[in-house]
Amino acid sequence: MREKIVLDLGKLPLHGMGTASVTWWGTLAFMLIEGTGFALVIAVYLYLMSLATAWPINTPPPDLLPGTLVTLILLTSLIPNILLSRWAEQQDLRKVRIGMVMMSMIGTLPLIVRIFEFPALKVSWDSNAYGSVVWTLLGLHTTHIITDLVDTLVLAALVFTRHGRSPRRFGDVQDNAMYWNFVVATWLPIYGCIYWLARL
């Protein structure tokens, strides 16, 4: 059909940041999917707990030390992470490079401690339903740390290449930082569930 020009879009920026970015919304949607997943596993935990005569089943509650240490590391990591996100917003490439290297190192710390967290559960996944659900909770969250760490490493390499100085890359850094916040935020209810509900 015939067209009549009523609007000039030539002045618009070539890439949107924050809520004008489609990847920001995409990341949010994936967080909603994964958040639902976490909520459901916690629901399964509570469901099985409600059925059991004694909880945890035939085993003492998990050791607090490794899990609490992971919690502290994750909470502390929020500070450099939020700083990094701000630097990306200001499009300060030098600081973003430093921040990415920093977050790459900080992201590995909880994984190292987590190696000790699985034995601290004091139950195997195939001992009983309690063991199955706590291993699933911890495993699912570990997968998220690993995924975000790999993403952070790749992005850290990318900001040191010629592709680094681009609003698109700064947007990626912001989205990655947002996702790390999500990984930390989802840990808190899981931590409460695994370590404190088992002590009620």
Binding site: L9, V22, L32, I33, Y47, I57, S132
Partner: protein
């Protein structure tokens, strides 16, 4: 001109119309040949592929249904043994739900939504390509396993303990569970694409109250997918874990629980019905306008009904478990919510009736399918209200009454609108019209065949015939009706055959379609049939809910976009004000590699848990290849 960029850039305003379309075609093209076909990210090509594949699965599922009807036409028939029959009804249900009904709705929307909101490609087009390959792999897994006598035989909802390690020996239940994973990954990916496309890529001026109802329906559906499908992924994964590494989620002896499976399954499974049904009602609300020759009555009511249905869908799942011995108070709550969902459904029905009542209906085949839908779906809805009552449900649970009910709801509520939609959007999909005469014939054969096949099943159910039996004895009072049902199924099959013939014939020899053959009001009809690779040479600017009816003197459009990179417009969520000229990714082969790597990992993990560790490495490599910038104008600017 107005903005300086590093590279000399080419804009639509700098060139003549012919040069503009040439330049856009070059920028947005899918190269010919196998490589181009494998690497394309054009939502229209992928959408057509999705639709085609889903209809292949419909035909295969139909063959299974025909086999069951031949078997049940007479007592003690010998065509199928009990084991084969178990596989066949499981395959039929799983195939129709997971490989046909959900994907086909998303498939139609993958094609249409970007056109209807006036953008040039779906959000995350590479994810879209990936989702198709994953869907194809999941379907192939199920059907190849069936061909190897490894088809699942535990029913489409695979209840434990039947599907658990104790009774479900072999790999049949794992095939079912992993097919679920494939289709859910694909559905979740597409849902994310829709949410972002509808939130952020609507044409300037397409405020929330100017979004076509079908697009609203896809938005609500996508949120249902996002909130419901994680439940089935969790269910199928924990089932595989129980079977493979000895977890005890569903083992009561070690603190697990079999009802946990039913809760997880139906927390997904009930919204699943609306994941299939809401796109269908969206299609109806959109298609009815050009055939009633007036805007749909009660736009706000229709949209609110969609949202209300989406919310209520999560409060119904226990009505599938009324005979599981749950607390009475819980049952009462779910009875009430199951009846409450009839209210938004009723609002929609009355809106469509009012639209037709006040309009000047043109009884072309799409409208016939709409009317067939209204009649059939109302019957299915009424039996739905009946089985929402616990005492009644207890009586007919697991009988053919339930089989009749859900076929009325699913075929009546989704397949009729879908067939109407194919007739309606066929010109946009292919550039040719479907034959109206064959369309009318196929409608009447399907409508009569469907009702004659499925209505007597209500009576069979009330006479006590259980579902999922492979045969019955001659002294039971069921054989007369069963023979009638099987003969009626021949009429139904003939209708579907005629539909397929019409599609194939029209795709080659059909009358050439105009841009807007139905004089419809929505944006997909503003471009050519079929649309060019870039959808719109100039992005439309929307001023009303029916842009093509309200701007008959010329479509308002925007200029200022580059032609030398794939560019589209990002707008604000509520008011659709332009925010950015965003790049849309180029074609890429990496989504295919990522899908192959994921497929290997998922199938391998049926056999060994280590597959997840080793299999994730190639998947990660493929994902890095996918996202690593290639130095194109889309990556750089």
């Amino acid at each position: 001109m107005k903005q300086s960029a590093a590279a000399p850039e080419q804009r639509d305003i700098d060139v003549e119309r012919a040069q503009l379309t040439d330049a856009l075609a070059e920028t947005w093209k899918t190269p010919s040949g196998l490589w181009g076909a494998l690497a394309t990210v054009d939502h229209k090509i992928i959408g057509r592929r999705y639709i085609f594949t889903a209809f292949v699965f419909l035909a295969l599922g139909g063959v299974l249904a025909a086999l069951m009807r031949i078997q049940l036409a007479q007592p003690e028939a010998r065509l199928l043994g009990p084991d084969r029959y178990n596989q066949i009804f499981t395959m039929h249900g799983a195939n129709m739900m997971f490989l046909f009904a959900v994907p086909v709705m998303e498939a139609v929307a993958v094609y249409l939504v970007p056109l209807m909101v006036g953008t040039r490609n779906i959000a995350f087009p590479r994810l879209n390509a990936f989702s198709y390959w994953i869907y194809l792999a999941g379907g192939a897994l199920l059907w190849i396993a069936f061909a190897l006598d490894m088809g699942p035989d535990v029913g489409w909802f695979a209840y434990v303990p039947l599907s658990g390690p104790q009774y479900g020996t072999g790999k049949r239940a794992d095939i079912w569970a992993q097919m679920i994973t494939f289709t859910e990954i694909s559905a979740l990916a597409v849902a994310v694409e829709f949410v972002v496309t509808i939130f952020k890529q609507r044409a300037p001026g397409m405020t929330l109250d100017r979004i076509p109802v079908f697009v609203w329906a896809m938005l609500v559906t996508s949120f249902l997918v996002i909130m419901a499908m994680p439940a089935i992924v969790l269910a199928s994964t924990s089932l595989i874990l129980d079977r493979l590494v000895g977890t005890h989620f569903y083992n009561p002896a070690e603190g697990g629980d079999v009802l946990l499976w039913q809760h997880l399954f139906w927390f997904f499974g009930h919204p699943e019905v609306y994941i299939i049904f809401l796109p269908a009602v969206g299609m109806v609300s959109t298609m009815i306008e050009p055939f009633a020759r007036r805007p749909t009555f009660g736009y706000l009511g229709l949209v609110m009904a969609l949202i209300a249905t989406g919310i209520l869908a999560f409060g119904l799942w226990v009505h599938h478990m009324f005979v599981a011995g749950l607390p009475r108070l819980g049952d009462s709550f779910f009875t009430a919510s199951s009846m409450a969902i009839a209210i938004p459904a009723g609002i929609q029905i009355f809106c469509w009736l009012a639209t037709l009542w006040d309009g000047r209906p043109v009884f072309k085949s799409p409208l016939l399918f709409i009317i067939g839908f209204i009649v059939t779906f109302v019957i299915g809805g009424l039996t739905g209200v009946m089985v929402a009552s616990v005492p009644f449900d207890t009586q007919v649970h697991d009988t053919y009454f339930v089989v009749a009910h859900f076929h009325y709801v699913l075929i009546g509520g989704a397949v009729f609108p879908l067939l109407g939609a194919i007739h309606y959007w066929f010109p946009k999909l292919t550039g040719r019209m479907m034959s109206e005469a064959l369309g009318q014939w196929s409608f009447w054969l399907i409508f009569v065949g469907f009702n004659a096949t499925f209505f007597p099943m209500h009576i069979l159910g009330l006479e006590g015939m259980p579902r999922r039996i492979y045969t019955y004895q001659p002294d039971l009072p069921w054989h007369g009706l069963n023979l009638f049902v099987s003969l009626s199924a021949v009429i139904l099959t003939a209708g579907f055959l005629l539909f397929f013939i019409n599609v194939m014939r029209s795709a080659r020899f059909g009358e050439i379609a105009l841009d807007n053959p139905w004089d419809a009001p929505t944006l997909e009809w503003a471009t050519t049939s079929p649309p060019p690779s870039y959808n719109f040479a100039m992005i439309p600017v929307v001023g009303s809910l029916h842009p093509l009816w309200d701007d008959r003197d010329g479509l308002p459009v925007a200029d200022g976009l580059r032609t030398d990179r794939r560019e589209l417009i990002v707008t604000t969520l509520a008011t659709a004000e332009p925010q950015a000229r965003e790049a849309s990714p180029q074609n890429s082969i990496w989504p295919l590699w990522a899908a192959i790597a994921t497929t290997i990992m998922l199938i391998w993990s049926i056999f060994s848990p280590w597959a997840v560790v080793w299999g994730s490495i190639p998947a990660a490599v493929a994902l890095i290849g996918w996202f690593w910038p290639k130095g194109t104008p889309e990556d750089e600017s």
